[in-house]
């Protein structure tokens, strides 16, 4: 890991000011993506700005029907939160399935979303549950947040503050983990609100995406026969040493079917 200067920010505006004062700055949250990439020298910030001392940035609250999760809430905190479990148990299950215990004690929801790893779990939650990402300067809907592999619509100095999850009627998250890395080979968040189905898939392509054809079929008729003839084209999916694109396409449909079963019973 190259040398860098270290700064602690005690509020959001100081963090942004610090960021804009340096050449190659980076924010640090849980550090469980950033530190490994710095060790590999894939990332070499001149200045690292710590977000951990900003008060209440890890708070989890319920405002009416909206669950608000602070960007610095760790995966372990989200998984254990009775507010999260009560509002959307699928979200707690998703958090509980990230990496391993030690990773969950440090990694944060804000870091995971800002990083937008193609195989990360939270992007599927945010897109599938139709969440809103509140930053230090604006609110971004999930549908416009994720741009491409490791790319989001965040400005370089923009900080995720909270994620707002609306109430959905039903939700389930199904993950087929890569047995070695525990990241999602494919992860499917399937939700229903007033009969409308919404499906977000992670792990399968360069970035999380919605499975529109399946959503349409399931909104019209929420049953297994309704999606019998629906397929996901493999052309746009990832192929790597772990799985071919065709295998990923197949896995997506299997997980969607299991999701339909889970929400129908």
């Amino acid at each position: 890991m190259y040398q860098f200067n270290f700064h602690k920010a005690d509020n959001l505006s100081t963090a942004v000011e610090l960021f804009n004062a340096f050449d190659e700055p980076m924010y640090i949250a849980g550090g469980h993506t950033l530190i490994p990439t710095m060790k590999q020298r894939l990332s070499a910030p001149s200045d690292v700005i710590d977000l951990a001392k900003i008060p209440d940035l890890d708070a989890i609250t319920l405002a009416g029907d909206t669950l608000q999760i602070g960007a610095m809430a760790t995966h372990a905190k989200v998984a254990a939160s009775s507010l999260v479990q009560g509002h959307c148990s699928a979200l707690a299950t998703l958090a509980e399935g990230i990496g391993d215990r030690q990773v969950r004690h440090r990694g944060t929801i804000g870091g995971s979303l800002a990083n937008n790893d193609p195989a990360a779990d939270y992007p599927a939650a945010v897109l599938g549950l139709g969440a809103q990402i509140v930053t230090d300067r604006r609110t971004i809907t999930a549908d416009t947040f994720f741009k491409a592999m490791f790319e989001t619509t965040l400005e370089p100095d923009e900080i995720i503050q909270t994620i707002h999850f609306p109430q959905v009627d039903q939700a389930v998250y199904l993950k087929f983990p890569n047995p070695a890395s525990r990241y999602a080979m494919v992860g499917v968040m399937l939700t229903r609100t007033a009969g409308e189905a919404r499906i977000a898939i992670t792990g399968a392509a360069a970035s999380v995406f919605r499975a529109a054809a399946f959503e349409e079929a399931l909104t019209a008729d929420f049953s297994l026969p309704a999606i019998d003839a629906v397929t996901l084209p493999a052309e746009t999916l990832n192929a790597d040493m772990h799985a071919s694109a065709e295998y990923r396409a197949h896995l997506c449909k299997v997980l969607i079917k299991r999701g339909v079963n889970a929400l129908s019973s």
Binding site: V48, D100, R101, Q102, H105
Partner: protein, 158 residues
């Protein structure tokens, strides 16, 4: 150089480190607490697992400067008055180690699991230890050791 104040295994320490020093480097190189091992240095193996403010974390993936003000327990801090911790005894009794390289991290993870009430059955223990890799692959005996250690820890606290 940054100055940090920590409580390590019950003792207050003031340390000086560079911003890019990891916590495991400081523990091993400055404090000579070499029980915390570095297996992979890439957040995979769990050999470097310690407790920071009551949670098991991989010390190779924590910047030392960020643990200013924290309370840290390493494998050296488990024994009380020279008597091994029940989890250490159970690993010995159940043959839960072969070369022993992964063992400090396994034990720190196992104690965290029991402290959080998560070591309820073999399946939960396997899941809970998924961040720890044993290159000698003695997982059967490791799980047996954690089960035994868990029941001894519960007996001791009741």
């Amino acid at each position: 150089m940054e100055t940090i104040e920590l409580k390590i295994n019950g003792r207050k320490r003031t340390l000086h480190c560079l911003p890019n020093a990891t916590l495991v480097e400081v523990l091993r190189d400055q404090l000579h607490l070499t029980g915390t091992h570095i297996g992979c240095d890439t957040t995979q193996c769990g050999a470097c697992t310690i407790h920071v403010d009551g949670d098991a974390v991989k010390a190779c993936t924590v910047l030392a400067v960020r643990s200013d003000g924290s309370e840290i327990t390493t494998i050296e801090g488990l024994a009380e008055n020279e008597a091994s911790h029940p989890m250490q005894k159970a690993f010995k009794a159940c043959h839960g180690l072969q070369c022993g390289f992964c063992t400090p991290g396994m034990i720190m993870s196992a104690v965290d699991l029991v402290n959080k009430g998560c070591a309820v059955d073999p399946a939960a223990i396997r899941e809970g230890l998924s961040g720890n890799i044993c290159r000698c692959t003695g997982y059967q005996n490791i799980v047996a050791a954690v089960l035994q250690g868990a029941s001894e820890m519960q007996e001791q606290s009741s």
